[in-house]
Symmetry: C2
């Protein structure tokens, strides 16, 4: 005899990030008690999404069509190419800035110990795009971690080899950040890369 | 044109309790990036669960069969009936105690302002069970809130009217609780209902 359906549901909910036994249980009860309609809709959408959402052929972002809406959009500036680690990073930049160029999503970062090399990040595809001569600036927006920095270094080399200008997001104090509470590394870096104040 | 599937998924995930826009987004990306199999299983189990899980005809707990496994179990003690507010409470008692009796799940508590009266809690059904003469003790395990107490009071009256002995879970200091950090109400109650120490 298989486990009761309720237990199966609690177990299945645990694939969600940050959801343990207790939370999964609370979610299952909530759905059954008060949100059967929403639960049904979630089940349907989720089934369709894992089935139909693939990757954009050009930028590797999630997309249900061959090209994602951004890549398919003719009015985006193709001379600027912004490289990010994940779709979530892409979305954050899209929402926070007025950037009108296009993206390339690595879906990870160089991490030899985990077996993630240039191949896994689709860097051959990126090189092809750099070779197409449309791209003039490669904006490297990988994260400011050790692995992110290593990836950025590698990407900058790729860009220079193709006569593309690499750039990197500015590092320093976060806006509104109190000096006292900023971590040592950031403070030291910001101090070292201080810029002259002009009138 | 409808919203992209990914946005629909993020929106659908927000029916889960405690999940806002940011968490839903993180969950959607996690499922698509690393847990497509788990996502598919979750979708299937959820669809089946909201469809097939109903209520036990006897105790009103969630059940996929007419009688839940506990009610259908012939070896449970039918002279003890424990009333709880929710399926989660029932599970907590079942896991923490060695209770061998049966349950009755109110699926709520008396709350006239929200339109929840004896009818909504299935108290007619409970009265019928009390009338069947099998039940000797009604263990009232509603929560220690104002509404829970009111419900407990009402249930105790029902039990007495049917010559059934009502009982209520003990209230006092939680095990391992430091006196200093216990709330005033609990401390005052525990002090007032102190019991004599016997050798």
């Amino acid at each position: 005899m298989s486990a009761p359906l309720l237990e199966q549901l609690i177990d299945a909910l645990r694939v969600l990030p940050g959801v343990g036994q207790k939370t999964a249980q609370r979610m299952a009860y909530h759905l059954l008690e008060r949100e059967r309609e929403g639960g049904k809709r979630l089940a349907g959408t989720l089934a369709e999404a894992v089935e139909r959402i693939g990757h954009c052929a050009q930028c590797r972002d999630f997309s249900e069509t061959e090209l994602c809406p951004t890549c398919a959009n003719g009015s985006r500036e193709r001379s600027q190419l912004c490289v990010v680690e994940s779709p979530a990073d892409r979305l954050a930049i899209e929402n926070a800035t007025g950037y009108r160029g296009v993206y390339f999503v690595l879906q990870g970062r160089l991490s030899p110990l985990d077996g993630i090399g240039p191949r896994e990040l689709g860097l051959e595809q990126l090189e092809q795009r750099l070779a197409e001569a449309e791209v003039q600036e490669l904006i490297i927006a990988t994260s400011a971690t050790v692995e992110g920095e290593a990836t950025a270094h590698y990407l900058a080399q790729l860009a220079r080899a193709r006569q593309v200008r690499p750039s990197r997001l500015a590092q320093g104090l976060p806006l509104g950040g109190e000096l006292e509470y900023v971590d040592r590394g950031t403070l030291s870096h910001a101090f070292g890369t201080r810029s002259e104040v002009r009138d």
